[in-house]
């Protein structure tokens, strides 16, 4: 089309050409509702089964149009990161920008192709809607704008954690995991949508969203402060926690969860114990004059000690072994938790004024009666320090040991005869710890690894963490599932190995333990040493017969109330010995017991007892 004619003055006649419209067919619009485009941004749809109520949609909405509403009939599972909340939309505010869709971690919310809603003044509340899969008016107009790889704003990938490869790590006990550098940590922390599922799933309800955000802000002091709100075993948990938080993480629903544990490690590694002490501060309260004895310096006992000392009480922790720390030190190998990191955690606790007396066995050096007399309250944190035995024939041979025992030797650096071949019975993490520790010693001493792990369970039901199994396999350990130990075989008085039978099934149809063996499939596994890692129990001998009779028990464990108090008003118990199953639960237990003890010590009841 070139230049316009009649530019200077215009034409009178040209407009008349428009009369030709009378000869053209009329444009007809159909009366049926017009179908919207395939990616139209209409009213919301929400798949209630995918939706976990994380509220990320609410956070990103720039018009504050979304309110999370509780729907009691929906499932709720803190540990899986599922809330019975669902987003409700105020269409008086919503602008249909679809950022909620793009940012939804589970991909449950979408916009439909429906766009018409009418109501009278009386029905204005109909603009406030709880979207479900069916559609605003129970008629499905089809999905419009939904989550596709193009517009998905959630990055499912986690920052990879550097690790030593098998060949590099097999002959020493140095830490396997490298840890994040600053860039990795900030990027990983930035993936968090601050939904708080981690906080709810954590046994001790750590302020994880807060410390993740602080790490993102590169304010590591604030991160430590937030961590210490709930967990003085920060270095420890930052390395070996079972990370229930990560299981509940919203991002983990479709992608890799935020590496909450590694972020904790990163923040803690930035400070010396003295700096951590300065960040959390030493107690500024007046001494209460109350004394508490804690038996056992594991996570339960020391967490309670930390809390109670900060409340002004005088705390003495009695530890039978020559170093404090409990299972984290004596059970967890150094390649997972270096001793200096555990020492750092303990140093901060001691800086609160907690006295730890090692090499002091209650029951032997000091009796429980003495503790009862000298202290206002006693907390038992004895853990599960006795290993169980299969008691199969030959299990009483000198070269058959409990895993707990062997791990303790390795921790204390005892020079014992490293077996050239070894068999470990059991399929849990303790078995892996024992196997991998022996493997390292074997590699150092003999140049080769010859460890066999024999477990009752099959790989689908293995008790050990998949990472442990994978890493053990990489380190040359042979893991045999579905084998049941039969006999420890000796020859000329020397232990030569373990015979096992193939397990055909462990559980019966009602899921009860009822192993059935294939008697025709018997194998002998070479082992100069056999390590039993089948289970552990608490050594409650220190209580003495009288106290044992006086206390209430529940199926083999001390009976305690919800706060850990036993049937004796002056005695509490916490950690593995009453609950378990890991460090972070012990920390939570320690907090509960400390709160209960503090309430008791500041209550009227104790004044009366004194008088």
């Amino acid at each position: 089309m070139g230049d316009i004619e009649y530019k200077k003055a215009g034409s009178i006649l040209n407009p008349l050409k428009s009369l030709s419209f009378f000869t053209r067919p009329a444009v007809t619009e159909p009366l049926e509702p017009r179908r919207a485009a395939l990616r139209y941004r209409g009213f919301h749809l929400n798949d209630w089964e995918k939706c976990v109520g994380c509220s990320t949609c609410q956070k990103v909405c720039d018009n504050a149009a979304i309110t999370m509403v509780r729907v009691p009939s929906l499932p709720e599972d803190e540990l899986q990161g599922i809330r019975n909340l669902r987003p409700a939309i105020d269409y008086g505010r919503c602008c249909w920008c679809a950022l909620c869709v793009d940012l939804c971690p589970t991909g449950s919310i979408s916009l439909s192709r429906e766009y018409v809603h009418t109501c009278t003044d009386d029905e204005l509340s109909s603009y406030f809607v709880l979207p479900d899969p069916r559609g605003m008016h129970n008629e499905h107009f089809g999905e419009g704008w939904n989550k596709t790889p193009e517009n998905d704003l959630i990055d499912p990938r986690r920052q990879a954690m550097g690790e030593l490869q098998a060949e590099q790590r097999i002959d020493h006990f140095g830490e396997i995991v490298h840890g994040y550098d600053k860039q990795q940590a900030i990027i990983e922390a930035s993936r968090c949508v601050q939904c708080g599922m981690c906080h709810e799933a954590c046994p001790t309800h750590m302020d994880a969203p807060e410390y993740i955000r602080a790490i993102w802000q590169d304010d590591l002091e604030e991160a430590v402060r937030q961590i210490y709100n709930t967990n003085p075993f920060a270095h420890t948990c930052g390395r070996v926690c079972t990370h229930r938080c990560e299981t509940a993480c919203s991002i983990g629903k479709r992608g890799e969860p935020i590496a909450i544990r590694w972020l904790k490690r990163y923040a803690m590694d930035a400070f010396t114990p003295e700096q951590v002490r300065d960040i959390v501060g030493t107690p500024q309260v007046a001494p209460s004059g109350r004394r508490i004895a804690i038996v056992g310096s594991g996570p339960a006992g020391l967490t309670a000690a930390y809390d109670l000392a900060r409340q002004g009480h005088q705390v003495t922790v009695f530890e039978g072994l020559d170093k404090p720390g409990g299972m984290p030190r004596w059970g967890i190998p150094e390649y997972r938790l270096p001793y200096e990191r555990l020492d750092a955690d303990i140093a901060v606790i001691e800086a609160m004024g907690v006295e730890i007396r090692c090499n002091t066995w209650i029951g032997r050096d000091i009796s429980m009666e003495q503790l009862r007399e000298d202290f206002d309250a006693v907390l038992l944190g004895l853990g599960l320090q006795l290993g169980r035995s299969t008691r199969i024939p030959g299990a009483d041979h000198a070269a058959v040991h409990k895993a707990v025992e062997v791990l303790r030797w390795v921790t204390e650096g005892r020079a014992f005869k490293v077996p050239r071949t070894a068999v470990v019975i059991g399929g849990g993490n303790v078995a892996m710890d024992a196997a991998r520790s022996l493997a390292r010693l074997q590699r150092k001493t003999f140049g080769e690894v010859r460890v066999t792990v024999s477990a009752l369970e099959d790989f689908d039901h293995f008790l050990a963490d998949p990472e442990e199994v994978r890493e053990s396999d990489e380190e040359g350990i042979v893991i045999l599932p579905s084998r049941g130990p039969q006999e420890c075989i000796t020859e000329d008085g020397r232990l030569i190995g373990l015979t096992t039978l193939r397990v055909m099934s462990i559980f019966d149809d009602q899921h009860r333990f009822a192993p059935r063996y294939d008697e025709t499939d018997r194998q002998l596994h070479e082992g100069e040493m056999i390590v039993e890692a089948i289970g552990q129990m608490t050594d409650t001998g220190l209580l003495g017969e009288e106290l044992t009779e006086a206390l209430e028990w529940s199926r083999g464990r001390l009976q305690v109330d919800a706060d850990g108090r036993t049937s004796q008003p002056w005695l509490w118990a916490a950690g593995d010995m009453v609950h378990g199953p890991d460090v972070v639960h012990a920390v939570a237990d320690g907090h509960r017991a400390a709160r209960s003890i503090h309430r008791y010590l500041t209550s009227d009841a104790i004044q009366e007892e004194a008088s």
């Binding site: 089309m1 316009i4 004619e5 009649y6 530019k7 003055a9 215009g10 034409s11 009178i12 040209n14 407009p15 050409k17 428009s18 919207a36 485009a37 395939l38 990616r39 139209y40 941004r41 990320t56 956070k59 990103v60 909405c61 720039d62 018009n63 602008c95 249909w96 920008c97 679809a98 950022l99 793009d102 940012l103 916009l111 419009g144 704008w145 596709t148 193009e150 517009n151 704003l153 959630i154 990055d155 990027i187 922390a189 930035s190 993936r191 968090c192 949508v193 601050q194 955000r213 993102w216």
Partner: protein, 380 residues
């Protein structure tokens, strides 16, 4: 109307009186107040008073995360929202050092030119209506609707596309979309003779528009007039050519100019731009299939996104003129300050008052529409 803008004057009551042109008036693109003092049907004085569409965007943007603002910014200019989106994203990209992938740049040009077409059709219609010709107005709005159909298909929204995100665009084109664009362009080409007949070569319209609201080039440059209004005074300045952004340097298009600087010239320039936009779009439709790659650069989790400290100024040729966006970041999660130079800000205040003074009452609306003065982007 603010009190200070109300001048009480001693004058014979029957010769001059004040009329409110706006804030609600069918001859305005939005809400705007122009108090005109008339003597008979001659305007002797005019006072522009905007603010009726002040929604506080610049302040609102300071209170929202960088990502949340993408939903806010199209609403700044109602008829031509795309440049606002693109300018915001470009400013953030400049601050973050984000490289926008090539395909995204082509898609942005697609969106911008479609938006220009829609805006010009709207403006023709409006201009025609201010001279009493309602048929071209209906045509303009109806034909614009076809472009809105295209936007709906591409972005999910008809008017406020919310298509841009810092780093690129949110979705790629749907199946068969380029064919539908071509069909729509063919249709628009076929419609131009109709518009010419009824509007552009209409003796009545030409007579009304010629010599109405004239601006000289010198005045335009002095007053900060940009866009078609400037090009109608003979200066071929277009940001797309003179400070190219996106992939405009790879596209062939002319810069239509006129000399007279009046309403007629301005309309003709816009008519020419309509043709040029069609031309650009045809090139985009042809090139797009061979441009590969992602449609956006990766950004951090939008809920944890800090833009580095700095300031960015981005300018874009919108349908109304040179649109400028000035964005300041203090390193935080929200903008520290945003200032928008809406091109109509220059046109709708002093320029409008000047042009309207001495004009006849029936031309007041025409002058404003011929300037394509868009109150939403004046007030923000």
């Amino acid at each position: 109307m603010r009190a200070e803008n109300y001048e009480a004057r001693n004058h014979p009551p029957s010769h001059e009186f004040e009329i409110n042109f706006g804030p609600n008036h069918p001859g305005i693109e939005g809400n705007y107040a122009l108090k005109v003092r008339v003597h008979g049907d001659q305007v002797v004085a005019a006072r522009a008073d905007g603010g009726y569409l002040h929604r506080g965007f610049e302040k609102l943007m300071e209170q929202r995360l960088w990502i949340q603002n993408i939903a806010l910014v199209p609403r700044i200019c109602v008829p031509d929202p795309a440049p606002m989106e693109v300018a915001y994203s470009m400013a953030v990209e400049q601050l973050c050092g984000l490289d926008v992938p090539e395909r995204a740049q082509w898609l942005r040009v697609l969106q911008l030119e479609l938006s220009r077409l829609a805006a010009h059709l709207f403006t023709f219609g409006g201009h025609a209506a201010t001279t009493g010709m309602y048929s071209p107005m209906f045509w303009g709005v109806a034909d614009r609707d076809l472009l809105l159909d295209l936007f709906e298909e591409l972005t999910g929204g008809r008017v406020y596309s919310i298509y841009n995100i810092p780093g690129g665009v949110r979705r790629d084109i749907p199946e068969g979309f380029l064919d539908r664009i071509s069909a729509t362009l063919d249709y628009l080409d076929s419609r131009l003779p109709d518009y010419d007949n009824l509007l552009f070569t209409n003796r009545v319209f030409v007579t009304r528009a010629k010599d109405t609201g004239p601006i000289t080039q010198a005045q335009a440059l002095e007053w900060g007039v940009t866009g078609p209004n400037l090009r109608a005074t003979g200066l071929a300045f277009d940001v797309r050519r003179d400070d190219p952004y996106l992939v405009y340097d790879q596209l062939e298009f002319d810069i239509p100019t006129e000399q007279a600087g009046d309403a007629w010239a301005r309309t003709l320039v816009r008519r020419g731009e309509l043709q040029q936009s069609v031309r650009i779009l045809r090139q985009v439709v042809e090139r797009l299939p061979s441009v590969e790659g992602p449609i956006r650069a990766p950004i951090p989790n939008p809920l944890a996104w800090k833009v580095p400290v700095g300031e960015a100024y981005v300018r874009i040729e919108s349908s109304k003129g040179e649109l400028g966006w000035y964005v300041v970041s203090d390193g935080g999660e929200k903008p520290y300050r945003v200032h928008i130079r809406g091109p109509s800000s220059m046109h709708a205040v002093q320029v409008l008052e000047h042009l309207v003074t001495g004009a006849r009452i029936e031309d007041v609306a025409q002058i404003m529409f011929s300037l394509d003065a868009c109150p939403p982007e004046v007030d923000r």
